[in-house]
């Protein structure tokens, strides 16, 4: 029984047949770029998938959703959602030998919108992702001095006291919010461009340009370093971390399972979302990368291997991060307890060493029994290690505040700082390679630029335009804009695109044809696992996540957190509501890429009806596909 599919006339004319593929393979026809070797391809895909999210999103999710128990939904959804989607993108790219626009246009011209949506999401996400890399570079540049600039508060102008904003919060907070971002108090308050940030942004885009100049010819060489160095640094940090006091507490805290969390639906939804975003699906980059492979490359094996590497990296990075967080929490606890002990010694004029960590509790009890007023007047802080450990932070807060603070407490701080920020830089840069690929190749396919323009020029224009638009993030309010982009540009449109991809391949391209293609490419038909996941399970999971996200975002009051030194709760971040005009921006970020899918279809429909252009005439003239046929 054939699996139901929608009518799709002219498909055979738009895509190369199996014989043509064999011929192209043998003759190496066409000037389509190719990977130098399989290692480059695997490293590039691993680099694209493994990014900053593995380091600063997954550990937070793990710790806040029941520690070791979070592994269960994560692994289940990795297998049911991540691997099938990955295999699908690899296979379709390898079969149709084209970037994202070329692939979806070849399947059905009305689906061009899916490719264009991928293009726009890659562009928007690439812009703000590279800004994070600019921040990482700023910290990297500032690591070449001892003591590190975020280890102590600066002194005010007349050398009488420490700067008030710093004294009330902490040196790391001050360095991040004031010295680095010079953040304003709200998103509406733009505050002008910060020249040091503009320089770092320029540096980030130039480095990206030099690595992506000639497409995979240059990125293929760069990934030897950018994809492997993070693992080396993580291992160094693991060894260093394990020798520090308190690191094992952190790891124990991370992995202690709380199975009750499995009953909470948001645990499963967060796990699903994390798997989805962690694989960089629906950006179009993976389709592009796999289209440079030879036709008979085993994409099924690649998908499984890369998924396993991605999952392993998440867990490994979580271990390293939490060993260092455990160290920091222990330091904070020791400082807190030390402060209390000192206060007691000073108040009662007891000799040093009379109260230690060991007898603190009973000493406090004794003193409280005899002199309760004095003890109360000291305002002793409650020091609880678990509280310090569960100050779970994610995102930029983890890297630039929590981790940097931990680094300042380690001996030879500049070395650890340099290593850490090189690792973040490599993680981010290798993800950007995929983003740029997902922008440049569709632009070439859409013939936006004249064909004879070299790839260097197109990449240069993309980088230049992205840099200019990304200057938004170099303002004082840049941090808030970035959080906005992160919440909306990189979430809902990707889910829509992924869902459309699966529907397109299974129902429009035809799962039976797809199975035959895979049999042609790797030698055996995909087994029952792939069939079930592609047809039902994965689309269902993506749909559920999308509905949940949509409802949550639409129904909740959209707020953001701001750093406002004049607020009452300072240094706690202030929760502000977005101004009304932000909703227009949110619509542009999330709505327009998603609406491009039906929008382009409608556009092509109008073209067919009004201009009497037969869309099914094979007008697939994409540079990346090199299939030029006309049926007369």
């Amino acid at each position: 029984m054939r699996f139901p599919k929608l009518p799709n006339p002219g498909l055979d004319d738009r895509i190369p047949s199996h014989q043509e593929l064999e011929r192209m393979e043998k003759e190496e026809a066409g000037d389509r770029p190719k990977w130098d070797n399989k290692t480059q391809y695997m490293l590039t895909c691993v680099g694209f998938c493994v990014g900053l999210g593995n380091v600063w999103r997954f550990p937070y999710l793990c710790q806040s959703h029941g520690g070791g128990a979070f592994m269960i939904p994560f692994l289940i959804l990795l297998v049911l959602e991540g691997i099938p989607l990955l295999h699908l993108e690899f296979a379709i790219g390898q079969r149709l030998r084209s970037g994202s626009v070329g692939v979806w246009t070849a399947i059905n011209p009305y689906l061009t919108g899916v490719g264009v949506a991928s293009l726009s999401v890659s562009f928007l996400v690439g812009m703000y992702y590279n800004t994070i890399i600019a921040w990482v570079m700023w910290y990297f540049f500032n690591s070449f001095q001892s003591p590190l600039p975020w280890s102590q508060c600066p002194v005010n102008a007349n050398l009488t006291a420490l700067v008030s904003e710093c004294a009330r919060s902490s040196p790391v907070d001050y360095f991040w919010y004031r010295d680095t971002l010079n953040t304003s108090a709200s998103i509406g308050d733009s505050g002008g461009l910060q020249w040091w940030m503009v320089l770092c942004l320029l540096c980030a885009w130039l480095v990206l340009y030099v690595c992506c100049l000639r497409g995979i010819e240059t990125t293929g060489k760069a990934v030897y370093i950018t994809s492997t160095l993070p693992y080396v640094v993580l291992t160094i940090f693991l060894i260093r971390g394990l020798t520090l006091k308190g690191s094992l507490d952190g790891i124990k805290f991370l992995f202690t399972p709380d199975l009750n969390e499995l009953m909470n639906p948001s645990t499963w939804l967060d796990a699903g979302a994390q798997v989805f975003y962690s694989f960089s699906l629906a950006f179009g980059g993976l389709i592009s990368f796999s289209s440079y492979n030879s036709v008979h490359n085993n994409c099924e094996q690649d998908a499984v291997i890369i998924s396993i590497i991605n999952g392993f990296t998440s867990v490994y990075a979580a271990t390293v991060i939490y060993s260092i967080i455990g160290f920091r929490a222990t330091e904070r606890f020791d400082d807190c307890l030390g402060g209390n002990i000192l206060a007691l010694l000073n108040a009662f004029s007891l000799p040093e060493g009379n109260i230690t960590e060991g007898n603190y509790a009973e000493s406090l009890q004794n003193l409280n029994g005899t002199f309760p007023e004095i003890v109360r007047g000291l305002n002793l802080k409650t020091c609880d290690l678990q509280t310090f450990l569960s100050q779970g932070v994610e995102g930029t807060g983890l890297a630039f505040i929590v981790f940097t603070e931990a680094i300042t407490k380690m001996p030879v701080s500049p070395l650890w700082s340099i290593l850490f920020f090189i690792m973040l830089f490599c993680l981010g840069l290798s993800t950007m390679f995929g983003s740029i690929e997902g922008v440049v190749v569709p632009l070439q396919d859409l013939n936006i630029f004249p064909k004879r323009w070299p790839k260097e020029a197109i990449t240069g224009i993309v980088c230049l335009v992205s840099f200019i638009v990304a200057l938004i993030f170099a303002q004082s309010s840049g941090n808030y804009w970035l959080a906005l982009f992160d919440s909306f540009a990189g979430s809902i449109p990707l889910l829509v695109i992924a869902f459309c991809e699966m529907v397109a391949v299974v129902y429009i391209y035809g799962i039976d044809r797809f199975n035959k293609d895979i049999e042609f490419m790797i030698g055996h038909k995909p087994n029952i696992f792939w069939q079930v996941t592609w047809r039902f399970i994965s689309p269902l999971i993506v749909l559920v996540i999308f509905i949940f996200y949509f409802i949550t975002k639409v129904s909740s009051n959209v707020t953001y957190i701001a750093w406002n030194p004049s607020s009452a709760d300072f240094p706690t971040l202030e929760v502000l509501e977005y101004p009304a005009w932000i909703y227009a921006i949110i619509f542009i970020l999330a709505g327009i890429p998603s609406l491009l899918v039906p929008g382009m279809a409608t556009f092509k429909l109008i073209q067919t009806c009004c201009c009497n252009k037969n869309v099914y005439r094979a007008e697939v003239d994409t540079v990346s596909a090199k299939v030029q046929m006309e049926i007369s």
Binding site: N142, P154, V155, T160, A161, C200, C203, V210, R214, E352
Partner: protein
């Protein structure tokens, strides 16, 4: 005789006088708190009378250094209310008149001026040798002329720009070489046609001019 009695009374009363001058929360006195174990750990020394003598001597030195003319002595530094914490109060009497106390502000300025020397005498720091009420002097931050981050930035940008230029130039050269190669191939084509090549196969045999295609060149 009367003079001797007065001298005896004075000598007897001086310590008592001194004691009344130095009191906890005295208006012209400061409290000192010393945390030797915190600062030195295993190498901590014990606080005893000799150390106290050194403190008084150091304070006298600080007062001398500040005033530059008055000669303060160890006797001018009076200490009281010692606790096991190691904390105590001290007052400074004027060298001219043992009953008069040096004002608080002057003592503060003298201590601030010689703080480093006082700390080093005891192998302590501003935090572990506290003068309650006298803020530790804040170290003026070292401000290099070029911030160090700009130097690293300059190095990285220079390397990246050099890389971009090298790669663009090499791309251009490659393209020029390719174009030259194609032009030369084109000229070969013409030569081969002149020599009667058909379908890429060079024909053997004698060359019959009758069949050459030189209409291209001569037009009647």
């Amino acid at each position: 005789m009367l003079v001797r009695i007065l001298v005896l009374l004075y000598l007897a009363g001086a310590p008592a006088l001194a004691q009344t001058l130095c009191q906890p929360n005295a208006s012209n006195g400061y409290m000192v708190r010393i945390s030797i174990k915190t600062a030195l750990g295993n190498q901590a020394y014990e606080w005893n009378e000799n150390e106290m003598f050194l403190f008084r001597a150091t304070m006298a030195f600080a007062m001398r250094r500040y005033y530059e003319t008055k000669t303060y002595n160890v006797d001018n530094i009076i200490v009281c209310d010692q606790t096991p914490r190691v904390s105590f109060w001290f007052v400074v009497t004027s060298p001219d008149n043992a009953a008069m106390l040096t004002p608080k502000a002057d003592v503060e300025k003298a201590v601030s001026m010689s703080r480093n020397r006082i700390n080093n005498a005891f192998l302590l720091t501003d935090r572990t040798l506290e003068f309650l009420g006298i803020d530790p002097t804040l170290v003026e931050p070292v401000n290099p002329n070029t911030p160090p981050w700009l130097i690293v930035f300059g190095v990285v940008i220079g390397a990246v720009c050099a890389g971009i230029i090298v790669m663009l130039v090499s791309s251009l050269l490659q393209k020029r070489r390719k174009e030259k190669g194609i032009v030369e191939d084109g000229q070969d084509e013409e030569d081969r046609q002149m020599k009667g090549v058909e379908n890429g196969n060079i024909l053997d045999g004698s060359y019959n001019r009758g069949f050459t295609d030189d209409d291209r060149f001569t037009k009647l």
